[in-house]
């Protein structure tokens, strides 16, 4: 009997949905596996169809994208009601992702920049979108734009996580086969990824970590065989879950942590801060400070994908 799935997105880019399509001919197996009841990227079902379902009707719903506004939350809660299992798909739903970087700012900061201050915007009256608008008989609504970006599990119970930005397509496929075959691990697990840190799977040669300075891309031509961190490029491999096949590192750029932390690590960014500090080759405060001065933009490097899931969740205002 065919399973019943829902696939939806919050504050997303569509990359996770495209990753499902990137399973190429395996999409036919996925279509054989399940009937899909909602998938705005690819299929024309409306919210009304989901509202009409019985509770727990869907076997699983896959939610990508972060929770940025009240519509994202509303549909997340709707799908939670109508689904037996909720799966957070991709880095945004798992740990906040790139949209989570907006947690350095407030709602007002973002709205002002986008609608009033940005250089290519002409908005003489300074109009900002409102939740409710009416003119005569016409009435319109918009969702509430939240002050703080949230991960999916910060608003509803989530049974499984498929990490990555985007998740590797074949990993999504193998996660779906676990659902089909009833072979899911304990609830709360990350599926479609490894257990260990990325360093274990990274093909580069690792020797000793003794950093004398952090380099920017124009300051070093990295040796393609050696560990990037050892060459002065901050790589989040030590604190990131494996499963991506080291795709960034193989392309010559350091890991930015999109697969999220390994089990039992609550805060990926501060774990990296610890790893980075431990690797500095200095003992005197002035030498330590000189190396630290070479680090550009620490918050957005350490917490590139995980700010919304971090212990502090956002910049304190």
């Amino acid at each position: 009997m065919k399973l019943k799935f829902g696939i939806y997105w919050g504050a997303a880019c569509g990359g996770c949905d495209v990753a499902i399509l990137d399973t190429h001919e395996k999409i036919l197996e996925i279509a054989d596996m399940a009937d899909i009841f909602l998938w705005p990227l690819a299929m024309d079902f409306k919210y009304k169809k989901i509202r009409a379902l019985e509770d727990n009707y869907l076997d699983a719903s896959f939610f990508s994208g972060a929770i940025r506004n009240s519509e994202n939350e509303e549909i997340a809660r709707l799908l939670r009601r109508k689904s037996k299992v909720m799966v957070a798909l991709g880095a945004c739903a798992h740990i906040g992702g790139i949209p989570g970087l907006a947690n350095m700012y407030t709602r007002e900061d973002v709205l002002n920049r986008v609608y009033r201050e940005s250089e290519s915007t002409i908005n003489e009256e300074g109009i900002i979108p409102r939740e409710a608008w009416s003119e005569g008989e016409y009435e319109l609504e918009l969702p509430r734009f939240y002050n703080t970006v949230k991960t999916l599990d910060q608003i509803i119970n989530v049974e499984y996580y498929i990490p990555g930005c985007p998740p590797v397509p074949l990993q999504i496929y193998s996660a779906l086969t676990l659902v089909r075959d009833g072979m899911l691990p304990p609830k709360g697990s990350v599926i479609g990824a490894g257990d260990r840190a990325l360093c274990e799977q990274c093909p580069r040669v690792k020797e000793e970590k003794k950093l004398t300075g952090i380099k920017r891309v124009h300051e070093v031509i990295p040796d393609p065989e050696k560990c990037l961190l050892e060459q002065g490029l901050i790589c989040l491999g030590p604190v990131t879950r494996s499963g991506c096949g080291s795709r960034c590192i193989k392309s010559g750029v350091p890991c930015r942590g999109c697969y999220g932390p390994v089990d039992d690590v609550k805060d990926q960014g501060f774990a990296m801060l610890s790893a980075l500090a431990s690797s500095l080759d200095a003992k005197e405060q002035k030498d330590i400070d000189a190396i630290i001065d070479t680090i550009e933009d620490p918050l957005r490097t350490l917490h590139r994908f995980s700010l919304a899931a971090s212990m502090l969740r956002r910049k304190k205002v």
Binding site: V110, L111, R300
Partner: protein
């Protein structure tokens, strides 16, 4: 005034909803397209080192 809501619009990247208002004769009186999504890339890329921009802004659209 009768209204037809198309929510969500589908088979593209992004969120959108269309509201159509009909008069008594059933003719279209007015129609509105709304984009109920905003992430604020314009704000949170401020101050990023330039070499990191190509790693952040592709997440605007993954299609």
């Amino acid at each position: 005034m009768k209204r037809i809501e198309i929510d969500p619009i589908t088979r593209l990247e992004g969120h959108g909803k269309i509201t159509i208002f009909l008069n008594e004769q059933g003719e279209v009186d007015n129609a509105y397209l709304q984009i109920p999504e905003l992430r604020g890339f314009e704000k949170f890329v401020e101050g990023l080192p330039v070499e990191e921009i190509p790693r952040v802004v592709p997440r605007i659209c993954g299609v």
